[in-house]
């Protein structure tokens, strides 16, 4: 892997995250809480984030089902382009932790990080191809002004080759980070290495 990118307070290095609220205690967790943690993420039982959300296991279960179906389902928009959109949303919402995680995932999938450096520097002009620029712009518009979105925002995506199934996958990847960013920003904070 290449050197981490560090721009404007954003980074592609691995960060930790610590909760501001008391997390659940695994030793006294209910069987449902344990089951939902196991369904949600391989590292959930040692993650402050999942141990915070496990205070309401049923809501966490539905969140994880939505998140995993959106980010990992086969077919449709490439997983790298979903991660690209998630990174843009996290950069716009200023979620440093989420931006770091999804920058890393993009790089693992795409084997490059040029567009990540652009997103961290200035999302408004980011994109190494016209297709990437269209995806980035749609992610910015839907994140900042959902009330103003219309057919004219969809057209550039179609013009650059996205079919409607891929546009839907893109909408999902952007929308789910409106959700994820708020949990990460508002229930705890990133922990920087060193």
């Amino acid at each position: 892997m290449s050197e981490p990118i560090r721009v404007n307070g954003f980074t592609s290095e691995v960060l930790g995250w610590k909760a501001w609220l008391p997390t659940i205690d695994l030793g006294s967790a209910t069987p449902e809480q344990v089951a939902v943690l196991e369904e949600s993420h391989p590292q959930a039982k040692v993650s402050d984030y999942y141990l915070t959300l496990a205070h309401d296991p049923e809501i966490l279960r539905q969140r994880s089902l939505a998140f995993n179906a959106i980010m990992y389902a086969p077919g449709g928009l490439s997983r790298a382009e979903r991660e690209l959109a998630s990174t843009v949303v996290s950069r716009i919402n200023r979620c440093v932790y989420c931006a770091s995680v999804h920058a890393q995932r993009f790089e693992q999938l795409a084997k490059r990080n040029d567009v990540i450096a652009q997103i961290f520097a200035d999302p408004q002009t980011a994109g190494t191809t016209d297709r990437e620029k269209a995806i980035v712009q749609f992610a910015i518009d839907l994140t900042l002004e959902p009330g103003a979105l219309g057919a004219s925002n969809v057209q550039p995506l179609r013009d650059h080759g996205l079919n409607d199934g891929e546009v839907l996958d893109l909408i999902h990847a952007i929308a789910i980070f409106a959700w994820a960013n708020r949990l990460m920003l508002n229930l705890g904070e990133p922990v920087f290495p060193g």
């Binding site: 501001w20 609220l21 008391p22 915070t52 959300l53 205070h55 309401d56 049923e58 809501i59 966490l60 539905q62 969140r63 089902l65 939505a66 179906a69 959106i70 389902a73 449709g76 919402n93 200023r94 979620c95 839907l142 994140t143 959902p146 009330g147 979105l149 219309g150 057919a151 925002n153 969809v154 057209q155 179609r158 079919n163 409607d164 199934g165 546009v167 839907l168 996958d169 909408i171 999902h172 952007i174 929308a175 789910i176 409106a178 959700w179 994820a180 960013n181 708020r182 949990l183 920003l185 508002n186 229930l187 904070e189």
Partner: protein, 175 residues
């Protein structure tokens, strides 16, 4: 349009509100990702379950949703949540204060703290810091209630963008 309140419990809220009906060009596109459809509706049903016994009350949850829809804004979702509030016979004077964005004049410290937190997370989530959680704790919310509230506002931020994206795709017509 029929009252949304009278829709069967298993109806999909976004399909109904956005009129994504079988036969429309968008219906097969959306339902090709049925796991997302069901987890979205499953989340909605949990947050607005009329049988909620403890924690945030149903009227508190619906007020958060209504206020969030007004702030974003999204008229269709605001109208939907308003209908639900009226079905609960919500106090119209309270509703008028929420409509006027006069949360500080509610005279209810718990509800004021909940709606102040809603405003911050909807409009500028990066400003929701540790101090914002302490305000909720001082207003008497438990840890579990704060987690549900944060999840609810975060879910609403997702739902409104999903609705906006689906509406745009519907308005764009057949490719």
């Amino acid at each position: 349009m029929n009252s949304i309140v009278e829709q069967p419990a298993d109806a999909d809220v976004l399909d109904n509100l956005l009129v994504i009906a079988p036969g429309s060009h968008l219906h097969p596109v959306r339902h090709a990702r049925d796991k997302v459809v069901s987890a979205t509706q499953g989340s909605h049903a949990l947050f607005f379950n009329a049988q909620v016994q403890d924690g945030l009350s149903l009227s508190e949850r619906l007020l958060v949703a209504y206020y969030a829809s007004r702030l974003t804004p999204n008229e269709r979702l605001a109208g939907y949540y308003l209908e639900q509030l009226n079905a609960l016979k919500i106090d119209q004077a309270l509703l008028a204060k929420v409509d006027a964005d006069a949360v500080e004049s509610l005279g209810d410290p718990r509800l004021q703290a909940i709606l102040d937190f809603t405003r911050t997370l909807i409009l500028s989530p990066v400003e929701g810091d540790q101090q914002a959680l302490q305000v909720l704790q001082q207003a008497g919310l438990t840890t579990a209630e704060i987690v549900v509230l944060a999840q609810l506002i975060a879910f609403l931020s997702y739902q409104v963008r999903l609705a906006a994206g689906l509406s745009a795709l519907s308005a764009a017509g057949v490719a």
